[in-house]
Amino acid sequence: MKKTVHVAEFTRLGGQVTELDPAEFIALPPPYDKMEKPPIRTLTDDQRKRMDTTLDGIVAVGLQPPATPEEEKAFIEKFLAGLEKLFSVEDNWTFLQPLMHTLEYCVKCQICSDACPVYVSSGRQDIYRPTMRPELFRRIVSTYVKKEHPLLRKIKGSDIELNWQTLARLAELAYRCTLCRRCAQVCLLGCDNALVSREIRKVFSQQMGIAPKEIHEKGSVQQLRVGSSTGMTPAALKDILEFTEEEIEAKLGRKIKIPVDKKGAEILLIHNAGEFIAWPENLEAFVIILDAAGVDWTLSSEIAGYDSINYGVWYDDVQFARVAIRQSQAAKSLGVRKISFGECGHAHKAGIVIADRVVAGDLNIPRESSLPLLEEIVMSGRIKLDPSRNDFPVTLHDPCNMVRLMGIVEPQRRILKKICPQFREMTPHGVENYCCGGGSGFAITQSTNFPDWRNSVSGRMKMKQVLDAFQDAPGPEVKKYVCAPCSNCKGQFRDMLDYYGAWEKSSIYYGGLVELIVNAMVDLKQPFIQWEWH
């Protein structure tokens, strides 16, 4: 029988709260049921010494143990001071109401557990229950923030004795949740355990300056400093765009000038700059479509104006606001009528929905998704399309941020149904989709053994869904396409398909939506999608 993990175990000094056993993970269909390499690398002794690994042996944050008892005390006190701020209107008006509601009204019925892909995929490890983080958090709040009477804490079972290691484990645990909010969707009480994960991340970042370096230092900080989390400066952007123009000319047989900083354009397209480097074909496809449809658009070369990412949405309200404001400023200085976000889920949610109550006045420039615009172009017949060019199995991944979190469900489907004769849905899909496993910054978190965990645990349910969607042609003879209109999801698919050897075993490739549209364009002599891209 599975060992039950109690909250009290998070306060135990030393040891590991849970040992993951890949044999317990949910099964994948053959031949994926037998992995040749160990699914999760164990850390070296040196890594274990430098970083706290006592949650599950995985490292995303990797807090360094304090050198002295004084250091430990100072750490705990600073954290608790931050925790109090979470409950203040001044410091946390942004999420006070949803946070308070979840903390007060969750009845711990565990109905949300089975909705969580991480919990289920891991073989139902207690530590990954959506309720585990909030429970640990609630006890710390009850004991140290509300300072409830010890007797009351006994009755409520909310007593806890804090030490540094508990906090180190809490920090790690906040990065075992993809913020997909599938758990929140099934809660009849309107509670949202994903939000608690985010609020925990926030205390660590806003109060302690602690966050995975890929998200903070190399992410939002780098974006604010040079313009993009990729490190791409405005000058480098220009070089990349020139290269993109050449590529387009080679494929299309004619040159298209990519508009940059075009004053008074109708649309400012903010794209995920990571695409320019990792999947340049996505930008190329956008350029080809917008040009063919005669859209008046431009890119920006302003700081943050050419990179749609806004990692703050996962961990830090201040960083979030900084990027959102700069994106709006870029649009304002160009005098565009609206901002359109390219294929990036978290950028959609961040830039269109979350920023909605951050930017105001003349910075509140209308913002929308590019998917309805693409749908309009495809359906209007403005570009000539031949669906037989996409006659291979295609399935659609729903990025959580775009679909469950903002209700853009059908435009991408209507496009695929029109241009892909072998389109099939995953089960479940739409607003009930499963996260790719790379949500909330996981896809870019590459340190130590975290990618192994991401591929084998948080992404496992999605991998299973993909394989199930293609079960009519499981072998490598038939080439198959997972359409993921999101850069982060694509990052996760790239790693995960490689991890499982899905190209070799099943010829499964992934890509965006616009690539499929351009692939169907009769103007192109050669197919746009090159399977060799895998």
């Binding site: 993990v5 109690h6 701020k85 209107v89 001044e90 008006w93 999420f95 006070l96 109401q97 949803p98 308070m100 509601h101 009204y105 711990k108 019925c109 565990q110 109905i111 557990s113 089975d114 207690d126 229950r129 009755i155 409520k156 079972g157 909310s158 909010r181 929140a184 099934v186 009849l188 009480l189 309107g190 509670c191 949202d192 939000l195 970042s205 806003q206 109060q207 900080v221 604010l224 400093r225 201040v318 960083q319 404001i325 929905v353 909605d356 109550r357 951050v358 105001a360 509140n364 209308p366 929308e368 998704s369 615009l373 679909v403 903002m406 209700g407 469900v409 059908e410 739409g430 607003v431």
Partner: protein, 308 residues
Amino acid sequence: MGTLIVVLTYIAYVFIVVVYSVKIVAWLRMPPHIRWDLYPVIHEEHYRYGGSYYEQPEWWTKPRPRNTWRSLLYSLKDNFYMGEYYERNRLYWLFLLPWHLGFIFIITFHVLCFFAAAAMVAGLDIAAGSAQLAGKGFYYLLLITGGIAFVTGTFGSMGMPIVRLADRGLRNFSMPMNYFNYLFFLVVYGSGLLAWLFLDPTLDEYRTYWVGLITLTPPELHPVTILHIVLFDLFLIYLPFTRSTHYITRILAYFFIRWDDEPNLRGSALEKRILGLLQQKISWEGKHIPKGKSWVEAAIESGLPEKK
């Protein structure tokens, strides 16, 4: 004894109404938050598949039809049905639903008793064989609501601790208070059930009790009925200390968090409130956050020293 239960009942009702109101007002008075909507949003036109107004190009130029009644019915429905529990943990649902129905029906029963008693004071005869149709109607309505309350409440309170202990996840997240609640509520409903089955099958005593409350005349009641009424009053006083406000706050959370898709349009009242909130000073201590600045000021700065 009669005087005691009249006084206790008034205290209990005033207490529960005041504390519930305070809690709900406090909930509602929290400042507006950043949007955190989750789909399907039931007032949306395409709620069936979870679509939003963002599915249209230039959504801000289009009407945003909103069906508030549908949302209200949807959110209320689950107070009586609890569909997710039915789908995801049927055994739990089997006890949880009756347990909750017990709450709803016992409160409804007492509210109806009040109206019945008021009607009796006005001259209505409430009995099975009443010559007045309204009297007959009241009689059966009280019998049905009271009966359902006692039976479902007792059944649920007996089953809940069993299912909680039998389920690994539920057991691990249980607190001593849960088991106290089950026991206490079992005594409340059980005493009502016993009084009804063996002493007062027409529930006449409750009408007498409520007439006494309205006319401020201490009623003459059987000791078991008195016991149940005292327990019920204590139950009313105890409820605000539990999470029971969730009957209401869950609906608020649906409307004001999960389904709050109100865009912040230029010049709107919402924009004004947000601008006010953005002026507040923040005290976060992370190195990337400037000290003593407001949200706006902190957001305008890039937060880190320039690279040398």
